[in-house]
């Protein structure tokens, strides 16, 4: 049984097929990359998995259970957490409270307040933000806001973590740090699916890659296979 499985997932906005008939799976412990040109439907696919939208048609299964059309908060409590392409932090709240929210609400087993505090502090240490714990989140740099989103997502104790362009807008040093962070999360046993434009990052971190183009899956394989695939090269260079 796959951890997450999508069968013929599609969605249309107006006349436009944002995602059409995409089938995919992710196994426990994998790091799956999702790439494709702008407007290929990557973030839309994330939004479908986290139930911002309901696929029509299509079925999503998490650990064999049908999760199609469930409320986003239930999806989160089941163990699927995400970050956002454009950061969606709780800007006026202290950094630690951002993480505490994830810890207090993100799981069916709700921890006591002190326990949630402890977990949040540990996670902030893990992503390297413990020094700015009490700063309002809006005052962080973009790189740190993205780390905060990761910490917040991890606080919900997910089995599957979806990272949407974690490295976009970061400088080379920050990209290297972010790659390290992804590996560390993987080593904790958390399955990852990530959207990324930074090719170096995705090639070195992911075990398997799916390529989307115009809402369709056009290729799937190991980083080597994708790097040598004719269709993929055409899509990227042809535009």
């Amino acid at each position: 049984m796959h951890l997450l499985e999508g069968e013929g997932v599609s969605i249309h906005f107006g006349g436009l097929a944002a995602v059409s008939d995409v089938s995919f799976y992710i196994d426990q412990g994998e790091v799956l990359g999702l790439i494709g040109p702008n407007g290929a439907g990557k973030t839309t696919l994330f939004n479908l998995i986290s139930s911002c939208y309901v696929p029509r048609p299509g079925i999503l299964k998490f650990k064999g259970k049908n999760i199609t059309g469930m409320s986003p908060y239930k999806i989160c409590r089941l163990g699927i957490a995400r970050t956002f392409q454009t950061v969606k932090i709780f800007a006026n709240m202290p950094v630690i409270d951002n993480v505490r929210i994830g810890s207090l609400f993100g799981n069916t087993r709700s921890p006591a307040s002190a326990e949630a505090n402890q977990q949040s502090i540990e996670l902030l240490e893990f992503v390297g933000l413990s020094r700015v714990m009490n700063t309002p989140a809006r005052d962080l740099t973009l790189a740190n806001q993205k780390r905060l989103e990761v910490a917040r997502a991890l606080a919900t104790k997910p089995e599957l973590l979806m990272l949407d362009e974690l490295m976009a807008g970061l400088n080379p040093t920050e990209v290297a740090q972010a790659m390290d962070l992804v590996r560390q999360i993987r080593d904790k046993g958390i399955t990852i699916i990530m959207i990324e434009h930074v090719m170096k990052a995705i090639m070195s971190v992911c075990g398997r890659i799916i390529v989307l183009h115009h809402g369709q899956k056009i290729a799937e394989g190991t980083p080597q296979e994708i790097a040598n695939s004719k269709t993929v090269i055409e899509v990227y260079l042809g535009e």
Binding site: Y73, C76, N98, R100, I101
Partner: protein, 337 residues
Amino acid sequence: MEDLMVIINLLALVYLGWFVDWTLKQNKSKIWLFSGLALIMLAILSTLPNYGPTYSYIMMSGILMYLILTVSWTLFSGPTGYISLAPAAFFGVGIYTSAILGKDFPVLVVVIFGGLLSVVLAAIVGALTLRLKGIYFIVFTFGLVLLISSVLLWYEIRFTGTRGRFITTANNDLIYYVMLGITVLMFITSYFLKRSKYGLALQSIGQNEEAAAHMGINVTAVKIAVFSISAIFMGMAGAIMAMKWIYLDPYSAFDPFRSFLPVLMAIFGGMKQFYGPVLGAVILAFLEEKLLTEFPYYYKLSFGIVLILVIIYLPDGLVGLGQKVRAWFSRGKIALT
């Protein structure tokens, strides 16, 4: 002299508001001092009818009414940023409950019933308006007040052949005690809500509703629940306040100004701290009681000007101004040393 008594009682209220903020702090010192002071303030407030002239506690009841509307409005709208113009609807439901049940039931039963009926209305409204955001939510809640009052008016004229009805009145001191009781209950409820994880959830909804949902918060349920809780106090206040009047009609029971004023009072005081809206309501309601009858136009004119200035220059209200002044002084000190 009478005004001085009222002012002392108002200061006591502001202290209690500040005390709620203080109890929510992490590291507290001088616990005995501050808690003792809170008890003294409570004693001052609850014995007012024993030492103050009738005029003083009639006036206090009027001010407490605005305080209850303002603080309970802020309970939901402060953190979430959903500007509700429904307070007049919940208040009006309380008034009408009182008008209908007042002659057959004891005061407390009527008051509790007024609160409960408001909760029912709030839960329905909350469930219906979830999809509405920003300006849509605001105009919906505004329209709701007018809808209820015009339907009631039509119903009364058409089916009972009358306009308005008489109310069984209660003693002024009883009204004051009940008002104070509702206020204290509201302070305690606010304290527990702010302390709980749902207070945090409410804040996060105001900051980014989508992210809140993806963090496992049942946004819908939290919003409806807190919206309904805030309506309890408004309904109860309406039910007891009605007993001060002899006669009412739908227009006076569902006066949209009771929706606007709490919003303005909360902004004036500042919504970052719990005592901000308390301060705003207390000052403006006191001025209203003193000036509205004598200089209505000048009072409302300056009210409008102050409001515009506060929105532009003091987004955090009087409390924010106080903090700015304090920061400015402490910076001055550092420069001196």
